[in-house]
Amino acid sequence: MIQGLAILSFSFLLGMWSGELLGSWLGINANVGGVGFAMIFLLLSKEYLSKKGWWKSDLEFGIEFWNKLYIPVVIAMAASLNVKSALSSGTLAILAGIIPVFLAFWVFKILIKNLPSSHE
């Protein structure tokens, strides 16, 4: 179990580091795609270890636990967002926070319709 968690942690740290490096290379003070890189490292590690025959279901359990914990984390996050100040920071914040989202839903619908390859 703990080995699986270690693989997850390793991928996470490596990915975050790549994100920071890419950010500073681009000259901005932000992590660019750290989570994405970490996910790719995790998938690559799994692929490599499976090929070697070292991947066991026990390893996966340590990762699966965090996978399942994901929704509870999101719930905790939602409860600790600054909802009140977001709603009270004025009409513009509410309009500029909501209207573009609807626009983006519409753009998404058009994009998906015109790129049927994504329907797999």
Partner: protein, 253 residues
Amino acid sequence: MNELTQVLDKNGLIVAFLLVGLLTWLTDLFSKKVLKSRIPGSAIAIFLALFFGYLGGVVAGGEKGLADINLFKGLSVLGGSMFRDFAIVATAIGASFLLIRKSGLLGLISLILGIAVFFISGVALAWVMGYRDAVSLCTIGAGACTYIVGPVTGGALGASSEVIALSIGTGVVKTIAVTIFTPIFAKKIGLESPGSAMAFGGIMGTSSGVAAGLAATDPKLVPYGAVTATFYTGLGCLVCPSLFYLLISALLS
């Protein structure tokens, strides 16, 4: 009683586990028995959590919603960016690398499209509400991307603190809007496959909103949406204070 408060105070994270566990247990029950599973329990739980976050803000007046009340402070640890990102990465274990690679181009297109849509409409709305200087317009437009891109852009351009606060507020409203509306519109807009989830993550951008919205729609789609959304904030921080600012100031003069 004093001893209990002490225990709860010392073990905030554990209290958060208990609270979230209780909440999901109740919402799952409610979803199954009352709504016949038409709305997933997790969607109700996330929505309720937002509502509690609002109440927490009203009662405590802080910046962390419910987590500003001492008893609930562990929620900001459990829901903090470290656990959030760690758990998102763990969801990749259920994703297929092949699918991600195949949808790479779609993801890239959607990222560029997404940042442009949010920035332009944010700027347009700020213009309508009476802002005329390029710095404020740009900062609010960036805030419409995410609540991180807004202050980063505002800081880089030297925007006033009210405008920066406004851009953060805009970004948080966006996160909440994406969380709430994603499960409602998912079927209507064709958000049902891993590929479309990747495009969705790229267009919507806000990692927390996309992740929460997809979790409420179909947890299997979360890793695909997250893998593209994670590039959005970084890309936004890159283009908003530079390329987009130059374009806006060129348009204004």
